[in-house]
């Protein structure tokens, strides 16, 4: 294992591997650093990974532990699906869908929480907590229950009912805060000062965020240790987007992959687009926004890693785009009708941005594009309630013939 310590992304100050997340010198974010000098044989490393467990822990050399921890739930190795009908529809060459709804609580948050709870246990915490837009709430409640830890989950009070129910069922202390996600996050940041709890996305955030790198590793491995040319990925705090890039870079540095960083396209909803706006205006920092969108899992108005997401988009020749509410629903429908995958609103945002890039002519014919679908459609049913209908008939052939058109689309 090659984990080394924590290091400030702003000023480079180093710290021990503790439950801290902020540099005391400059307030910059802390990130896990590794010494990978012992991993100097790419062929051997590939064999080791392929012989590893069928979970994110096959990439344990790139996660922040001295020894591989025991975890209660199996996470990762979700399908990467060649989406030929989607590609045809959009007029582009090669599209793959990484369906991360196929995780225990149906979103990519299982990855980060699996890592964070392992770290919480290692550091001796009995109580886990988080500020969530919903998917993280599900994951923290489930993984804490499975690990036998108490948990407090803080969410905005207006969250989708499906996400509230699918969190409470695990027996967590679910706290509905009257405010936006940014208010919830501020409250949790304050609480983390005085409560002896492991807040997965506050004081354990440096470790938690590392889990997202496994979405880069898996895609590369599933492509036969090759890089895609382009990735399209949702942006909320910017952490996932940034860490997928970091994952590819770590493997490029070690010679596990050849080539250069893929083009990174970020996806936001127009109703909460602080990073897309900063990208469009050429700014290096994000002005906070007041969210108003059906894509509640992306409704972060004050994104912690916005500046780093901007860096990744710019240095890779990509972009951060935003799409309207109508485009989001169309995106959900397009993915469902062409791939059989029903995604939540965040996935609708991502597919809608893919469509926008295709229509804009940004995607060359020979490109291999990977689209990250990070959550499950059953969690945001309200988004599609108005667009799906049924033919109600009597249980008789005549009634069917009379009421259902021969070439029906509902």
């Amino acid at each position: 294992m090659s984990v080394q310590g924590l290091r400030c992304k702003e000023c480079g100050e180093v710290y021990d591997l503790e439950a801290i997340y902020v540099c005391e010198q400059c307030f910059g974010p802390l990130e896990v650093s590794y010494d990978h000098s012992a991993l100097d044989d790419p062929a051997e490393l590939r064999r080791k990974i392929q012989a590893g467990p069928s979970s994110i822990w096959r990439y344990a050399d790139f996660l922040p532990f001295e020894r591989r921890p025991k975890t209660a739930l199996e996470v990762g190795l979700t399908p990467l699906i060649r989406a030929e009908r989607l590609a045809d529809q959009l007029g582009v060459g090669e599209v793959y869908v990484k369906n991360d709804a196929a995780n225990p609580t149906h979103s990519f948050k299982d990855r980060v929480v699996n890592v964070a709870i392992a770290k919480a246990k290692e550091l001796g915490y009995d109580v886990v907590a988080c500020a969530s837009t919903g998917n993280l709430a599900n994951a923290v409640a489930a993984h804490s229950a499975a690990a036998g830890l108490d948990s407090y989950v803080f969410v905005p009070a207006d969250l989708e009912e499906q996400k509230i129910l699918a969190t409470g069922v695990y027996g967590t202390k679910l706290v509905a805060v009257r405010g936006t996600y940014d208010d919830v996050n501020r409250l949790c940041t304050e609480l983390s000062d005085s409560r002896p709890w492991a807040f997965v996305n506050v004081n354990l955030r440096p470790y938690y965020a590392e889990g997202s790198k496994t979405l880069a590793f898996e895609v590369a491995e599933q492509l036969g240790f090759e890089l895609p040319d382009r990735v399209v990925c949702p942006v909320a705090s910017g952490s996932l987007f940034t860490k997928i890039a970091r994952g590819f870079e770590e493997w490029l540095d070690l010679g596990l992959l050849e080539g250069s960083l893929p083009v990174f396209n970020g996806a936001q909803a127009a109703g909460c687009s602080p990073v897309a706006d900063a990208f469009a205006e050429g700014h290096s920092v994000c002005r906070p926004a007041k969210p108003n969108t059906i894509a509640k899992s992306l409704a972060i108005g004050n994104p912690a890693d916005g500046v780093f997401a901007l860096d990744v988009a710019r240095k890779s020749g990509g972009s951060i785009d935003s799409v309207t509410e109508e485009e989001i629903v169309d995106g959900i429908r397009l993915l469902a009708e062409t791939t059989g995958i029903f995604t939540e609103t965040a996935g609708g945002v991502t597919v809608a941005v893919l469509r926008k890039l295709a229509e804009r002519g940004d995607i060359a014919e020979h490109e291999r594009v990977v689209v990250y679908i990070t959550g499950e459609g059953l969690k945001t049913l309200d988004a599609v309630r108005g667009i799906v209908g049924t033919y109600e008939i009597e249980p008789a052939v005549e009634s069917f013939t009379e009421r259902v058109p021969a070439h029906a689309t509902v």
Binding site: N185, V285, N302
Partner: protein, 90 residues
Amino acid sequence: MAVVVKIPTQLRALTGGEGETEVEGSSVGEVLEALFERYDGLRDRITEDGELRRFVNVYAGGEDIRFGEGLATPVNDGDEVTILPAVAGG
């Protein structure tokens, strides 16, 4: 105008362990200036070249001051100004 300033854990080594303190000022900028006079060393941690560092969030009455007038955001007697790290969440 007496305003309570809440100070995050990461800065308490410079405030003798105090998590909050009361200072005078009629804008967020004046409040922070009074805070810096009281606790030597806080200025460089929170600001750079007279501007807030990019990973510092400041709230007046629970609202991010970037939704107001930044450091010129007015504060009233009894208001709370909260300094927090910006790198949490998501």
